[in-house]
Amino acid sequence: MTVPAKLFQQWLRTVAGDTSQAAVCRSAGIKRSTLAQQLVRGRVSVATVAAVSRALNLPVVASLSTFPLFTDLATGIKAPTQAELLSQISDYDLLQEILNRQTQVEGALAPKPALLTSVPHRSSVRAWLDAVDVGELRQRVARDADMAPQNFSAQISANRLSAELAVATARIANVGLTNGLVATGFLSPTEAGWAPDARELALRQTANSALASLAAQRLEILGRLMRRNEDDRAAVQSIWENLG
């Protein structure tokens, strides 16, 4: 995902003033050669825009909004739905909550609610897509992006989603445009305009039954993922055993 180099340089001049490119790179933690390469190619990655933005203490969403592809990003911020918030809680945090509630029911002293692990979790992209799916969401996104459905699912399986696709998906699903970028880990929840305790609050408000169903769904996916990993590992093991 990239923005035109010319626009990037214009933006950099307005936000960084006379600061040298080397200094900007250093404070943003980007290799100078990487940026130089991107500028030569005429396309600067959005990750670079975000890194520079953070280094200069500018809101990432506002910075991105200055580029044509993301003009409505800032105005498109909407509070995440309950389902979206829950989707960004890791499997183990969900299970921990179930255990905590059970402990409480059994009369023991309820353990202090642990802090939720930070986003993104291991299958955050898939969970988010499931949470915002309004029917045939994946097919529609792939079709609009002119992308083969299997390439789209390959990204999801790898827990990746390009910034452009994340925004496009949010637009089609009619949710906050920055929310998908949280699921991919591109933005922190705060940067995306989420309330600080939104996930914790959503979790505490979820009924036992809903929590149990959600956990069951997550465990099903987790089981499939583990089985695939185990099969792959067994296959490699067999190659080593016979030919190593």
Partner: protein, 232 residues
């Protein structure tokens, strides 16, 4: 050009044999040592400056060429069994070690011996090129090629499947791709021989190229093996 390639391939085979020596002492996958040792013998005897003295020692009846063929059969049988097991292809394993596979191997071996005995091949000639106009020698050559092509053809899909699946690390996929390519070249050799074209040196280029590909594949497997996670 061909002779340089032959020496390079011989060097690679000897290197691989030497690399398997420590494993032989520890008893880990001893078969691989024999595969490379036999391959080294076959390659060495395809080089005229080695073939002539060795065949002279054996009486000058071109027995050395029979040794080449039988070494190649053993190499392909052992290698095919291992590769089929490694890449978890029960069908390939059955076609190599099952009744059909053993029958093909036995028939090829007997065929080689019979056609050789029926031929007039007095006087050393690498690759029996001097006797190519005899029908029994032609049959001898064909049978020699067909078992190797049979085994190789079975292994192409088994290894290609791993090379094309995304679930593996790059090194494992490259290893499978190299093996697949090597076996594919063996099959192509047979097809080229079928075509009535003057393809003499191209066939040799392909045969030795295929050995290099297989050796590269095995090295990549080994590379992946030594970098494996400490546990397991």
């Amino acid at each position: 050009m061909i002779s340089i390639l032959q020496w390079v391939v011989l060097g690679v085979c000897l290197l691989c044999t030497a690399w398997r020596l420590p494993a032989v002492r520890s008893g880990h996958n001893r078969g691989l040592f024999w595969i490379f040792a036999l391959a080294s013998i076959a390659v060495a005897l395809s080089i005229p400056s080695i073939y002539f003295p060795v065949d002279k020692l054996l009486g000058g009846h071109n027995l050395a060429n029979v040794i080449v063929r039988l070494s190649l059969f053993s190499v392909f049988f052992l290698l095919a069994s291992r590769v089929a097991a490694a890449y978890k292809s029960p069908r390939a394993l059955k076609l190599i070690r099952g009744p059909v596979g053993l029958l093909v191997l036995a028939a090829s071996t007997v065929g080689i011996l019979i056609t050789f005995l029926l031929s007039e091949v007095e006087g050393s000639s690498p690759g029996l090129t001097r006797f190519g106009d005899q029908p029994t020698v032609a049959a001898y050559m064909w049978i020699g090629l067909s078992y190797t092509a049979y085994a190789a053809a079975i292994l192409v899909p088994a290894t290609a499947k791993t090379a094309l699946s995304a679930g593996y690390a790059l090194v494992d996929r490259s290893a499978a791709a190299c093996l697949s390519m090597g076996f594919f070249l063996v099959c192509i050799t047979l097809v080229l021989k079928l075509a009535p074209l003057p393809v003499g040196s191209l066939v040799q280029l392909l045969s030795f190229g295929s050995i290099l590909f297989v050796a590269a594949g095995m090295s990549l497997v080994w590379f992946s093996f030594i970098r494996r996670p400490a546990q397991q």
